[in-house]
């Protein structure tokens, strides 16, 4: 933690870019698995978007280590403080873990992992249908977990912004404004 009141500009840009990408990704993913007519178009979006999220999540973690985020307000109840820290760790874990599991499961299934054009990612696991069969439902369950966490994150952020009005929401706002005292 630091004495700053705002996340640095790269952190804020990354947050809002990734918020859009991850929400789009979750909606594409959940639609894809039951779709017939648009299945291939959705899959073709899902793969490069996932790799994009993976790359940005790594950049974001590096930026976070170099520029620690602002401290939470001192009057925040302990359980909320713990919930905030735990949920943020989980969010980072899933932002990194879901694309990696997706990449790994497609590798195990023996699919060429095309990102568009003739760009194909190398496999990161040996081809093994049993491993694919194990990873495939893990990918779904963790994606639902991420969606649930994002809903909680959204609700908590709006509580900070609209009700507590304690500067937590504005610390991540794209346009940095002075926090309310």
């Amino acid at each position: 933690m630091s004495n700053t009141t705002h996340f640095n500009r790269p952190a804020r840009l990354l947050h809002w870019t990734m918020a859009g990408m991850i929400l789009a990704m979750l909606f594409i993913g959940v639609a894809m698995v039951t779709s017939l007519a648009h299945y291939d178009a959705l899959v073709a979006l899902h793969r490069p978007l996932g790799i994009g999220i993976l790359i940005l999540a790594v950049l974001r973690l590096v930026n976070r280590w170099r520029h620690p985020p602002p401290a939470l307000p001192p009057d925040l109840p302990g359980w909320q403080r713990q919930a905030a820290h735990a949920s943020h760790r989980l969010l980072y874990g899933l932002m990194l873990g879901l694309p990696l599991i997706g990449w790994a499961m497609l590798s195990a299934a023996g699919y060429p992992i095309g990102l568009g054009g003739s760009v194909v990612l190398p496999p990161i696991l040996p081809r093994d249908p049993a491993i694919y069969a194990w990873l495939r439902p893990v990918h779904s369950v963790l994606a639902y977990a991420l969606f649930g966490l994002i809903l909680a994150h959204l609700g908590a952020a709006l509580m900070h912004g609209l009700i507590r009005r304690d500067g937590v929401f504005s610390s991540m706002a794209l346009r940095a404004t002075a926090p309310r005292s």
Partner: protein, 370 residues
């Protein structure tokens, strides 16, 4: 309102009414997002056709056969190469069409239907699935059938046909009333069924013609797109099915015949690409293109090995027709996306199931002539 203030953490400046209003707005936004997600996931439209429902119907019609493909369940793996003629290069930038290019190929011949232990029958639709291994990890996977057109135009019609054509256990034939109702509802399929029924049955896999059926697009280096359909045309002159084959004791006579043919000499198919013109149906696999459309011979698939299905070979490959290299693209045919989705579902289901040996073994002792 101190309890509300404690929970929500509102400062003393905010009136309780405002706190409740804002809490309500937050709850509505979160619930709305969750609802939109449920909508996208199809939970609000449980009657829509999904890949899972198509596969459930296959399992219902054919019975459970864990570990096997839900369709084209009985098959034999093959391997060989593709020798490009160079004539496809002007239409598609895919590297396999470059002049003189030799591309390794693996694949699978199979019989349509979801029963892995069914006896071979001359009238069962035969398929040829191929996987072209291009440099740098690109692949072209394609599934082809020995019928002139596909029996249905849409995924919904396919789903209806699966049930309508289910053989009645008492008679061994589909219920005529169910079939008549299906054709009444799907007039496209009436003409297609007549064309399929009138096809020439050849002696086996090696002298059979296999068609991609759906329309695709070839994309040239300069970006020019051409609607195409393709067929794998045998170099062996087709011989008509002999009446004696009907009474064969060998339940695998089609597969064993192919394995024997490959042992005698490599089996060759020419990849004949037909070029569509504006107005040709690209989204209706029940209709053939006019016979005067130009075509070109893009090269030869040469099959030099066969192998029984086993761990790690063609058994564990999803021949998804939309696994394509740059230079080949899916068109607007609604069956293509549906095939891709249903094949993926079949692959996912069987990947985790225990495996049983295929009915088609290696090196049949009888009649191999070795």
């Amino acid at each position: 309102m101190s309890l509300l203030d404690d929970l929500a953490g509102a400062g003393p400046a905010m009136r309780p009414r405002a706190v409740i209003l804002r809490l309500g707005a937050i709850a509505a936004l979160v619930a709305g997002t969750a609802g939109a997600f449920a909508y996208a996931g199809g939970w609000l439209s449980p009657h829509d056709l999904t890949p899972a429902r198509i596969l459930d119907r296959f399992e219902r019609v054919n019975g459970p056969h864990p570990g096997f493909r839900r369709n084209h369940a009985k098959g034999l793996c093959l391997a060989g190469r593709f020798e490009s003629s160079g004539r496809g290069e002007r239409l598609s930038k895919a590297s396999l069409f470059a002049p003189g290019q030799i591309t390794p190929v693996t694949g699978r011949i199979a019989l349509a239907g979801g029963r892995p232990y069914a006896a071979d029958a001359a009238t069962t639709v035969r398929s040829l699935a191929l996987r072209f291994h291009l440099p740098d990890g690109e692949e072209w996977r394609t599934g082809n059938n020995d019928i002139p057109v596909f029996p249905v135009r849409t995924p919904e019609a396919f789903y209806a046909q699966l049930l309508a054509a289910k053989p009645d256990p008492a008679t061994g034939k589909p219920d005529p009333e169910a079939l008549a109702a299906f054709f009444a509802a799907n007039p496209d399929s009436v003409k297609a069924a007549a064309l399929i029924k009138a096809r020439t049955l050849t002696a086996g896999f090696a002298d059979d013609t296999f068609r991609g059926l759906n329309a695709f697009r070839f994309v040239a280096r300069d970006g020019r797109q051409t609607p195409v359909r393709w067929a794998f045309v045998p170099e062996h002159a087709a011989t008509a099915e002999s009446p004696a084959q009907g009474g064969r004791a060998d339940e695998n006579f089609l597969f064993d015949g192919f394995a024997s043919a490959v042992r005698r000499a490599p089996v060759r198919w020419h990849l004949v690409v037909t070029l569509g013109e504006p107005g040709d149906p690209t989204a209706d696999a029940t209709r053939a293109w006019p016979s005067e459309r130009p075509s070109l011979d893009a090269g030869t698939v040469i099959v030099s090995e066969t192998e029984a299905e086993a761990d790690g070979n063609c058994r564990d490959v999803n021949f998804d027709p939309l696994v394509l290299p740059a230079g080949i693209e899916g068109g607007d045919d609604p069956l293509l996306g549906a095939r891709s989705a249903a094949y993926a579902q079949s692959f996912t289901r069987r990947a985790g199931e225990p495996k049983s040996p295929s009915a088609v073994h290696d090196a049949p002792v009888a009649g191999a002539g070795l």
